[in-house]
Every structure is written in structure tokens, then in C-alpha cells.
């Protein structure tokens, strides 16, 4: 992934002053595959604080929920949420975060798979990697068809 041309962007009327900024107003957040401008469901559900990072071609909303789990939502320039990621002591509410993709995720989780501490769901329009145990979960989910052209999921450590 190339981050060289990082630029601050305007998100829902909130001016982001740097690559990593605390912001005074709350951007709208949304569910995977939905428009960022819809609702701030996640923030309300998680009673969370939000931090926004803008890099070339996409914006990241970083939310920490009340139990200390970090959720990151990746929003393309089009306004669509193309990916979500999480890490923390407990799993976030994936039903709400994955939205219309949750059923896909769930049928993947119900299919035969390796172990109970690692789960990969690989479908045409949804990829989920989830690992860990109570006190240390981490994972991500994304919609391949919504990925921005300059975003490589393999490149980032």
C-alpha cells in the first residue's frame, strides 16, 4: 500500500488537521458495505470515542468501545465502508458491524473449519480473518469489490 501522498481530508464537515487527529465533532459511521453518511450507529452502540485518520484514497475511523476494544472502519472516497478491523479484550458486535454481510460470515463460521481460535471466511464478496481468545481478539473483514484501487490488503504489517 502506498501512503506517500497522504493528505488531510474533510470528513462530514469535520476538518482533520493531521494524519492522526483528535477531532471535536463526530463523523458519521456506518456498517460494512453501507454509506458512511447514513448513521452513527456504531458510535452510539459502542458509547465510543472516535478518531479519524485520512490517507490517500480512504479514511479510517478509529473507535474504542466501552470495554476497550478498538474498531477501525475504512471508508473509501466514494463514502462506502469497505473494511472493518478490530482488536481488544472482547469481540465487537459483528452482526451490527458486518450488516448485510453478517449472514455470509455466519454461514462461513458454521462450515467445517480449523480450530476455535482462528477463523477465515473467504467468499466472493466477503473476506474475514478472525483470531484470538478472551482478553486478546483481533481480526478484520472487507469487501473485495469495494476496495479502493490503491489499497493492498497484503502489504501492511
Amino acid at each position: 500500500m502506498k501512503l506517500a501522498s497522504s493528505k488531510a481530508k474533510r470528513v462530514m464537515g469535520c476538518l482533520v488537521a493531521g494524519v492522526l487527529s483528535q477531532i471535536a465533532c463526530l463523523p458519521a459511521l456506518a456498517t460494512l458495505g453501507e454509506d458512511v453518511a447514513t448513521v452513527e450507529n456504531d458510535r452510539v452502540q459502542m458509547k465510543a470515542q472516535v478518531r479519524t485518520t485520512s490517507v490517500a484514497g480512504f479514511t479510517v475511523h478509529v473507535i474504542q468501545n466501552s470495554v476497550g476494544t478498538n474498531v477501525r472502519e475504512y471508508v473509501a472516497a466514494s463514502g462506502k465502508v469497505f473494511g472493518v478491523a478490530w482488536d481488544g479484550p472482547l469481540l465487537p458486535n459483528l452482526k451490527q458491524m458486518l450488516g448485510k454481510y453478517f449472514d455470509d460470515y455466519n454461514s462461513g463460521a458454521s462450515s467445517p473449519h480449523v480450530g476455535r481460535r482462528h477463523l477465515t471466511v473467504q467468499r466472493a464478496d466477503l473476506v474475514v480473518h478472525s483470531s484470538g481468545r478472551m482478553r486478546a481478539f483481533y481480526g478484520n473483514a472487507y469487501v473485495p469489490s469495494l476496495l479502493p484501487p490503491n489499497f493492498s490488503v497484503d502489504d501492511i504489517k
Binding site: 500500500m1 501512503l3 492522526l20 459502542m46 458509547k47 485518520t53 490517507v55 479510517v60 468501545n65 466501552s66 470495554v67 476497550g68 476494544t69 477501525r72 475504512y74 473494511g83 472493518v84 478491523a85 482488536d87 481488544g88 479484550p89 472482547l90 469481540l91 465487537p92 458486535n93 459483528l94 452482526k95 451490527q96 453478517f102 460470515y105 455466519n106 463460521a109 458454521s110 467445517p112 473449519h113 480449523v114 480450530g115 476455535r116 481460535r117 482462528h118 477463523l119 477465515t120 480473518h129 478472525s130 483470531s131 484470538g132 481468545r133 478472551m134 482478553r135 486478546a136 481478539f137 483481533y138 481480526g139 478484520n140 489499497f151 490488503v153 497484503d154 502489504d155 501492511i156 504489517k157
Partner: protein
């Protein structure tokens, strides 16, 4: 004869302090003398309870033990349950309701509400109330423990937030769970800790008296499900899991031991084991593997394979190939690999050699192999600490194969041991 001689030589060399080197683990760990004492409990790795062993997917690399639960204070209202999975990746005892034949009293909070739990696993949730029991393992007893009873008919209503986190999939039967229960003997005392003391995590719930509708609730540490070892009268600072070596083609069954306490008896000394101190929040350490540093690594008897990211090893079933082992690694030839485990909060560091065989070949024979020392799976691209992207190869999960041929020590947080204060793993 020749092999024995070589083993003896390695033993002599090891006196000089090469304890942490995984290649020699068999010399100092499992396969030695038979430990005896009130702090010793047998472990078996077999195909699981009958319903699983006789199914099309018998258990693989699942360590089981036997636990006795009694109604608190009773010596008659007791039940001994076999095929309880031994898990260093969690804390506390959970039993499937379908195998329980005795009734244990419900645990209530200070307001008289029944406590229930939605235990989170990556692939599903286990729902059920917390009940009280005296837990007896080997010759040790943990009195009045909070024990989760999964799939309990008295509390059939699964809260919606439990169904949504992490999945609709409920692991509330022996078949779905893979065991008659699970005994969490991990490095933490409580199963959840601080994250569950506040409301909102959808793990702990309270159910008003005479209602089976339960609400998300914060739970004080004292009422959370906890590692029973920490409540033993003695030998309560940790546990050793000791398993014999397993050959390249696996074994139908393996017998080993769980020994309670570290440095508390003549049979549980740390010896020359390397201590890998764990961070006190997540219980993790760093693994350096090939060119990458995997900073959220852990040792987990509850994982049935080594799990690590490596895009260079072929995954079974990739490119549409027929497979018996989807998701596991299927290298064309067995890979001999090594990695270095290093504490992020202490000085401990040890290098470990391990093998990854073709999982399809391992599973394709006609004989049942419950124990496989060279089974591994891809955990590519899970996790991230970065704002700039959502992938990060941050974890090496040293699952049950790591335990074969070793003594693996799990020291409980805040407890003093002969190797320092927990939490740590040592081997």
C-alpha cells in the same frame, strides 16, 4: 541402543543450560519418569467423547482430562466428567449441560440476580448460567467455584447481543463444542478480567429472579468464572502440562500429565526451562519467524495446530484442489522450520524447531490419528495495530503440537513461583 546413547549425550550437554531449546525438549520434558502425587492428573489426547470419536470428524490434537464437580460442601452430590478439554488459552471450568446429571446451585450477584455468560470464541458463542461447584482435579480441590453450564435448559433464552457477538453459531452441544467441557488453566485468574467489569461487552449477563431474560451487565472480578487452580489450597501458582513426543505420522492416542504448582513440590520444579514472561493485559509475547515479528503470540493447548502466517506454504484445498483438511498447510514436502519466542516484558528468549507436514497426507490414512505433532494452519493477515491498514501478521499461536515432548509451564498472574512472578509460560 544407539538412539539411547544419543539421548543420553544430549541430556549431559543440557546440564550446561540449554533448557529453552526446542529441539531438545523431549529430553527434559514428557517421556521422562511418571510423575506421582496429589498434584498430578492424567491427560489424554484421543478422538474425543463417543459422539465425536464416532463421528466423521473425530477430535484431533485435543487434550482431555477428567474433573469431578460437587455441589458446594457435598461429598455425595458429585459427578465425575471425562473428556474435559485442557486449555491454557482460557480460564475457568465450563461443562455442557447435556452431560451433567447433578444439579448445581445457581450463582447470583449481590442483588440476587442469576449470573449468565456468553463465552466468546472466534467461531461462535457458548451461552449458559454460572453455577457453583467444588471442583476436584487429581487430589486438589477448588471450593465453591463459578462454573459455566453451557446449554442449560433452565436459561434457554439467548440474548440477541450474544447471538450477534461473535456469531449466530452457538456452541452449546458436545458435538459443536468438541468436548464435554473445558478446563481453562491459562495464565490469568479470571476468564475476562477488567474488560467485563463494565457493561457493554455482551459477555456477562444478569437475569432477575424468576425470569430467564438476561441483560448485559458488568461483572466484578470476584464473580467472574476463574481458573480453579488459582483457588487450590496448595500448588496454586500454575500448572505444568507434560506430554510425550509424537512421531511424524501421528498417534491414535497419547497419555500425559497435568501437574499443579510450579516449584511447590519435588515433582514440579522449573529445572532449566526458559521463562517467557507475558504482558499483563493480553498474555502475549513476541515470535520472530522468518523475516517477521509476530507481537501477539501465545502458547495454547486449546489450539489444535500451530497457527502462523506464511504465504509461501501451500494451503490445503487452494486453487480448487480436493482436500481432507481445508485451511491447514499442505506443503509438498515436510518443512523443517524454526522461530524464536521472546518476552516483551522480561529477558526470556528461546528458539524452537518445528515441522509442518502435508495435512492431507496426515489425514488421508485409514487409521485414526488423534495426535499430530506437525499439523499447522495459516493465520495470514489477522490482526492489526495500525491505523493505516487492516492487515497485520501479528500472531504465532503455539498450539497443542508444541506441547508434545515438552513440559510446558503456565504461571498464574500475580503468583510467586520458583521462576518469578506470573504471568509467564516456560518450557
Amino acid at each position: 541402543m544407539r538412539a539411547n546413547l544419543l539421548a543420553a549425550l544430549i541430556g549431559i550437554l543440557c546440564v550446561a543450560g540449554c533448557g529453552g531449546n526446542g529441539t531438545l525438549g523431549g529430553g527434559s520434558g514428557g517421556g521422562g519418569g511418571t510423575p506421582t502425587g496429589s498434584n498430578v492428573q492424567a491427560i489424554t489426547i484421543d478422538s474425543g467423547p463417543a459422539v465425536i470419536a464416532n463421528s466423521t470428524s473425530p477430535a484431533v490434537n485435543t487434550a482431555y482430562t477428567t474433573v469431578t464437580v460437587c455441589s458446594p460442601g457435598s461429598t455425595t452430590n458429585c459427578q465425575t466428567v471425562d473428556h474435559i478439554q485442557v486449555d491454557t488459552g482460557s480460564s475457568g471450568l465450563r461443562i455442557l449441560a447435556s452431560v451433567l446429571t447433578i444439579t448445581l446451585p445457581l450463582q447470583t450477584d449481590t442483588s440476587g440476580n442469576v449470573i449468565a455468560e456468553c463465552t466468546q470464541f472466534v467461531d461462535g458463542s457458548s451461552w449458559g448460567p454460572i453455577r457453583q461447584a467444588d471442583v476436584k482435579i487429581g487430589g486438589e480441590t477448588a471450593s465453591k467455584q463459578e462454573v459455566q453450564v453451557i446449554g442449560d435448559a433452565a436459561y434457554p433464552t439467548v440474548p440477541p447481543t450474544c447471538l450477534g457477538t461473535p456469531a449466530v453459531t452457538l456452541e452449546d452441544t458436545v458435538t459443536a463444542f468438541g468436548a464435554n467441557g473445558i478446563l481453562g488453566v491459562g495464565p490469568f485468574i479470571q476468564d475476562c478480567g477488567a474488560g467485563c467489569t463494565v457493561q457493554g461487552g455482551a459477555v456477562y449477563f444478569t437475569c432477575p429472579p424468576s425470569s430467564t431474560t438476561c441483560a448485559d451487565s458488568g461483572m466484578p472480578l470476584t464473580l467472574q468464572v476463574a481458573n480453579p487452580v488459582a483457588s487450590f489450597a496448595t500448588d496454586n501458582n500454575g500448572v505444568i502440562i507434560q506430554l510425550p513426543s509424537v512421531g511424524a505420522t501421528g498417534s491414535a492416542a497419547v497419555a500425559g500429565y497435568m501437574i499443579f504448582g510450579i516449584g511447590t513440590q519435588s515433582n514440579n520444579g522449573l529445572g532449566s526451562a526458559t521463562v517467557i514472561a507475558l504482558d499483563s493485559v493480553h498474555g502475549v509475547f513476541t515470535t520472530k519467524y522468518k523475516l517477521g515479528t509476530l507481537s501477539s503470540s501465545f502458547i495454547d493447548s486449546g489450539s489444535n495446530a500451530y497457527y502462523f502466517p506464511d504465504g509461501t506454504i501451500n494451503v490445503c484445498g487452494s486453487n480448487g484442489a480436493t482436500t481432507h483438511a481445508p485451511g491447514f498447510f499442505c506443503p509438498t514436502a515436510t518443512q523443517s522450520l524454526s522461530a524464536t519466542l521472546t518476552s516483551t516484558v522480561g529477558s526470556g528468549s528461546a528458539s524452537v524447531n518445528f515441522s509442518v507436514a502435508n495435512a492431507d497426507s496426515l489425514f488421508s490414512g485409514n487409521t485414526i490419528v488423534a495426535a499430530l505433532s506437525n499439523l499447522a494452519a495459516d493465520s495470514t493477515q489477522v490482526g492489526s495495530g495500525s491505523d493505516s491498514g487492516f492487515n497485520g501478521n501479528t500472531s504465532f499461536d503455539w498450539g497443542l503440537p508444541f506441547f508434545y515432548g515438552r513440559s510446558v509451564y503456565t504461571a498464574i498472574e500475580t503468583r510467586n513461583t520458583s521462576g518469578g512472578v506470573g504471568p509467564y509460560f516456560a518450557f
